[in-house]
Symmetry: C2
Subunit: 520 residues, 2 copies
């Protein structure tokens, strides 16, 4: 990081580093403009003669497993985040590595959470060189302070698959927390005392890593069915007393917002889907686990019932609200990327119509299509959106990096992508002139729904036409922005940032969309 | 084939060509002796921007699909054989290729059947250069007559996965018959008018081929669940009126043998499992769909019931006899590689404990283990077995190549591999001095069960000890052989073969185990 970094302006007008952590980068070229070439990454050919005939791959502990995998300085260790803020395995692995005495690891989680903030100590001690992956909360803050030795690389769920598949990130050792596993390494997330639902985020790791370690607190005899993670890709199995804190792995219940403003937004969005004709027999939608999204599903369900409309599929992150749709016969399937509450976990464990997906099926842009573009409508959040419908989900207006991208970028491929947002938070307007960090290009954001009205992207004349005559408050985004600025007393202050990049935001095709800068 | 082929003697003492179809080969080195190196094959990186956003990959017909895939002279076209002798898709694809006018294709089916014998005409016309894959009946015969331009390569189900995965065979275009599919290319075998159960044999093709075409006669809206073949690997979808003849895809019922001799063999095998202590709580076994195997399952079921024993899993090829075990609570799971009858198809479609597997999970030797070695006992057939327990499943004693290997070689990894055989067929002894074509090394064959007694491989002192005191007719293999020769009037005549290799038999690790010679 001492050497001066070369910057280039990308197709979104953003200045981005051309080399990151020693690897050359392609600046963002525009939606659909980058054409990859070459072959996918290929893990080493193994042989059954090097694995136990009885299929028992258990070793005493994680330290032994990592040693057997040949852990060395500078290696890439990966984890998944299906256990969310309850995960204990990632830190267990990193601490075992510290005990072994290796340095300069690249930690490559699918996301990191506040409970993993002691990774900062491991960075201070030199065990971890830097993190590539979503950094929620303290780790993102640490990164924005410029304290990480390498640059952070933020990728969407699909972008993480793409990076692994395309060989941009070579995982030396994947350590996979498994709520259930057998001694051969087959693993499942939907059963066991630490059940979390789908393990889809770990699938790329298990398929492409040189070495794979499964860590479980619920070992069952072969076969562990379903085997979302296949033992045929696994080197070692480690039993531990607990892989995490169940109360933080899944929330007992996911709460609908009680804020009247947010309920209003949720209702607007549901009515928009109905009035625009998107809510029709055989349609599909995706909504996350935030308070507004949950309320939206609840409103939509009532409208579907009223109008006798049935969806072909709904996309999770699943919650009890999606599960109710399935149980009420209002959808044929839930295609689930991650499972957010206990109802979701119970459903995915028992109902064959509740299907575990992976970022490969749902989000990977470098496949032969993916089904994000087949979802009729998606309801998302954002920290900021600007008058050109560009949106930010990773930093706040003060420039602090506090959130990961998740599937957000990938979802923008949907037929109708809707940002459902309060128009201000803590008296800071959410609609701005230009987003602090560009995470999604405005041409892919179709609708911005706030409690003060709904703005439709002028590129979507079809949607503007579709809701003509609707009683919904459809307004130009500039109007809503002006109203909010009057309420809040002006525009948000610009962040005081240095000219030193501390992280980059990748687009779904692996090009560099924007830069996160160190704060002064 | 005009040039003189160099031969080498392998570790089994067999003479094998060192180059086959222009590719250098490794002669068999002994069980577990070959150590692979290098990386797995890697298909090209694709991009969603080259596929339809709405996920609809349908094209008018197979010819269009093949043209779009860039079909050229000399390419490798693959098919699976889950529709068995009822398949119509493979010939459809080859005839479409003929219509396009390409030559010298390598046809790479997982197996070929008598109903596909018109592939001979396509070989005569030069459209197909040669076949690599199991050749059952007329195509095998054609090969043994030395009429194929290239050499046949016989691989086990696991060996086929290994060859694709290791890059020994690069599939240009995989054409996958699908009993159900959606327009995105997700495909399933367990539903639809041509339902065949698992599509596991096509999984490697779908994953590693450059181009993938799904052909279906039952198109449903996205998503096709389950999606054993994932649309994210598929380029084109073709709808046809019929993918095959359902009456030949699955037999309405699979018949238990009525031959008293064969029933006796089946009973011996079941009693052997019981008396040797293999039949115990939590055990596992595999048996195919032959008349003896079915009768064995029926006997074993009765013994399990009597003794109150429950299996952890049974391996299919599934039939109604395995399904009954599952339904009677005598096994926790069926792990199914292929589905042989209507009861099997119905079960795999509806019972989550009846699990579709692929050669990757069950058989691929170049993985981090596979579960063939975790099966406690397997009951197999053979055309010949010799006094050293070496066995043959591909040729008859007259040297004609009439059968494929199937999963047979892979299954030998089981804890106890049992060949259940009549001691003679058509007055030709089955136990011989030396097998015509070595398909399985004797060190992996544990038991030979005939109607005249059971021979245990002397290497398995543990099994000899285990059945001490049993009332089973345990006899040295030479004794049984001598008795049979007295009945049949001597040893089988040796085949009149030339010194020209027409096919090779691969071992599970990709090395060359034996040669099939042109017959005079």
């Amino acid at each position: 990081m001492a050497a001066k970094l070369e910057l280039a302006q990308n197709a979104a007008g953003r200045m981005v580093p051309t080399t990151v952590n020693g690897r050359q980068q392609t600046p963002y070229l525009g939606v659909g403009q980058y054409h990859p070439h070459g072959q996918k990454a290929a893990p080493p050919v193994c042989s059954s003669n090097e694995y136990p005939e009885n299929g028992d791959k258990r070793v005493a502990d994680l330290e032994t497993a990592l040693r057997n995998c040949g852990l060395q300085d500078g290696m890439v260790i990966s984890n998944h985040h299906h256990l969310r803020d309850g995960d204990a395995v990632a830190l267990m692995a990193l601490q075992a590595a510290a005990k072994i005495g290796v340095k300069d690891l690249l930690w490559f989680p699918s996301a990191s959470f506040p409970s993993q903030k002691s990774a900062i100590e491991l960075m201070e001690k030199g065990v971890i060189h830097h993190i590539e992956g979503s950094m929620n909360g303290p780790l993102g803050d640490y990164c924005t302070q410029g304290k990480m030795r390498g640059m952070g690389i933020l990728r969407s769920h699909g972008g993480r698959w793409q990076a692994i598949q395309d060989g941009e990130v070579h995982i030396d050792i994947a350590v996979i927390a498994a709520p259930t596993a057998d001694p051969f390494g087959n693993a499942d997330g939907s059963h066991g005392k630490s059940a979390c639902g789908s393990l889809g985020f770990a699938l790329a790791d298990s398929t492409y890593a040189d070495h794979v370690v499964v860590v479980t607190d619920s070992l069952i005899p072969f076969p562990c069915i379903p085997w979302q993670i296949q033992g045929n890709n696994v080197d070692y199995v480690v039993e531990v007393p607990s892989i995490g804190d169940p109360s933080k792995i899944v929330s007992g219940t996911t709460q609908i917002t009680r804020s009247p403003d947010r309920l209003r937004i949720a209702e607007f969005v549901a009515r928009f889907l109905r009035d625009a004709g998107i809510m029709r027999n055989g349609f599909s939608f995706q909504a996350g686990a935030g308070g507004i999204a949950l309320a939206f599903v609840d409103y939509l369900r009532r409208m579907m019932k009223e109008d006798g409309v049935r969806a072909r599929f709904v996309r999770g992150g699943s919650t009890k609200y999606l599960v109710e749709l399935l149980q009420d016969g209002l959808t044929d399937y839930i295609l689930d990327g991650q499972t957010f509450d206990l109802d979701g976990v119970k459903s995915i464990a028992n109902d064959p119509r509740h299907v575990a997906t992976s970022p490969f099926t749902s989000y990977n842009y470098h496949g032969k299509g993916n089904f994000a573009s087949m979802v009729d409508a998606v309801v998302l959040g954002a920290t900021e959106v600007d008058v050109n419908f560009n949106a930010n989900v990773v930093t706040h207006s003060d420039g602090r990096l506090l959130h990961g991208i998740g599937g957000w970028q990938n979802c923008l491929a949907s037929g109708c992508s809707i940002l459902a947002l309060p128009s201000f938070r803590d008296r800071i307007p959410v609609i701005v002139d230009e987003v602090t960090t560009l995470t999604g290009p405005g041409e892919l954001v179709d609708v911005v729904a706030t409690e003060r009205g709904i703005a439709i992207n002028p590129r979507r004349q079809d949607l503007l036409d579709a809701v003509k005559g609707s009683s919904l408050p459809i307004r130009p985004i500039q109007d809503i922005k002006a109203e909010v600025e009057r309420i809040c007393g002006g525009r948000p202050a610009r962040p005081k940032r240095s000219d030193r990049p501390v992280a980059i935001v990748k687009w779904v095709d692996g090009t560099v969309l924007d830069t996160v800068w160190q704060l002064n």
